[in-house]
Structures are given as structure tokens and as C-alpha cells.
């Protein structure tokens, strides 16, 4: 084993150890932080930074062209998909699905959004700009905002 390979292995191992330490700290945070949004803050560490560091370390260890490119694919795909999941989860959490503790928020920029009182259409696609009749029809179909609020309170 030449010196050059040894240097690459060492750098790769250091990257993997950094990623694993970050993942461990994030797991402790996931266990100890108070609500969904702060747990999401912890959750992004192994999802993005930790996985990227470990992928870089693995690529430095494996060093053959197909492996390196496939690991690049893994890193790029994680960078593309982590924001999507985080967006969906954060949106659902702000609507009140996840026991969000609003007393812990410093700023709630979506507090006066009109569709927050709306029980929420399908979660994935952006709803078109709300006309009144549409919102009323939707809430009637779901049993009205009042009953939803009651069932939410009983979740606590």
C-alpha cells in the first residue's frame, strides 16, 4: 500500500468519524428536544451533513470510478429529497398535526394566514387562491373546522 493510498484512507476515515459523531449528537437531540420542529432541526444533521461526510469518506476509501459516482448520486439525491420531506413535515406541523408547541416559537410568520383555520386540503399540492365558497365546501366535507379543533385539543 503506497503512501498516497494511506493518506486517502486516513482522510476518508476522519470524514466518516466526523459524520458519525454528528449523527450521534443528532440522535441525542432527536430524543431530548421538545417538539416536532426542533426535532426536525436535529434530524437534518444525519440526513444531509452526516450522510455527505460519510459518503465522501466512503468514496475516498473505495476509489473506483463507478463507486465514487454512485456515492455522488446518493449525496445529490439526498440533497434534493431532504428539503421536500422537511417541507411537508414542517407544513403539517405548523397546521397543528404534530403537537407543535407555539409557546416555543419566537416568530410565527404564518400566524395570520387565512388557510390556517381551514382544515387543510390535500397535503401535497398547493391549493389555489381561496375563494370563499371553495373553502366552505371543503370544510363542510370534512365536518367543519370546529369539530377538527376539538379533536385536536383532545390529542394533547
Amino acid at each position: 500500500m503506497s503512501t498516497w493510498e494511506l493518506v486517502l484512507d486516513t482522510i476518508g476515515t476522519v470524514a466518516i468519524v466526523l459524520g458519525v459523531l454528528l449523527t450521534f449528537v443528532a440522535s441525542i437531540g432527536l430524543l431530548s428536544l421538545p417538539d416536532v420542529l426542533s426535532r426536525m432541526h436535529a434530524a437534518t444533521k444525519p440526513q444531509v451533513v452526516g450522510l455527505l461526510l460519510i459518503v465522501i469518506g466512503g468514496a475516498l476509501h473505495l476509489r473506483t470510478s463507478p463507486d465514487v459516482w454512485m456515492l455522488v448520486l446518493v449525496g445529490a439525491f439526498q440533497l434534493m429529497t431532504a428539503p421536500v420531506t422537511a417541507h411537508v413535515v414542517g407544513r403539517l406541523a405548523h397546521r397543528g398535526e404534530g403537537g407543535l408547541r407555539r409557546d416555543l416559537l419566537y416568530v410565527d410568520e404564518l400566524a395570520d394566514r387565512p388557510d390556517e383555520a381551514d382544515p387543510g386540503p390535500d397535503d401535497q399540492e398547493e391549493s389555489p387562491p381561496h375563494r370563499n365558497g371553495e373553502a366552505v365546501g371543503r370544510s363542510r366535507r370534512r365536518g367543519g373546522p370546529g369539530s377538527d379543533g376539538a379533536s385536536l385539543d383532545s390529542d394533547e
Binding site: F24, L31, M70, Q78, T85, L92, G98
Partner: protein
Amino acid sequence: MSTLPALLDAVLVVSLVLLGLSAVLVVVRLLRGPTGLDRLVALDVLVAEFLCGLVAYAALTGDSSLVPVVVAISLVGFLGSTTVARFVRRGTGR
């Protein structure tokens, strides 16, 4: 100079053990997590840690046949978590 590769392997084994420990912590959150969104976030992190473990294991053994598995799991994990997020609705958040 000859002891360095053994040291690197030992460090990789220790980091794999640490990954397993953090996966245990995430599973505790997955089981306790009061709402469905907590479990969803914990499941996402568990998938990410599984990917980390696979890459670290491939780096430890120098066996590159695990790399396509990592690609496949990263795709499927994203699909799974977004699909579950669709079904976490108001009132059924548990």
C-alpha cells in the same frame, strides 16, 4: 507505518458501533414519539443512519457491492417518508 491501516480499521469499527447506538436512540424516539410526525421524522433519520452504516461498512471492508444498495435505499426511503406524510392528517396525527 504498518500499524496505521489496523488503527483506521479499528476507528471504523468504533464508529459503526456508535452508529448502532444512535440508531437505538432514534428507535426509542420512534416508539415514544407522541405524534405521527415525530415518528415520521424519526423514521427518516433511521433510514439516513442505515445509509451511513452501509457506506461505513463498505469503507471498512472495501467491498463495493453494497453501493447500489445504498442508492436504492436512498430512493425508496424518500418515497416512503413522503407517502406516509400524505396520510398524516389533522385529527389522525397519531
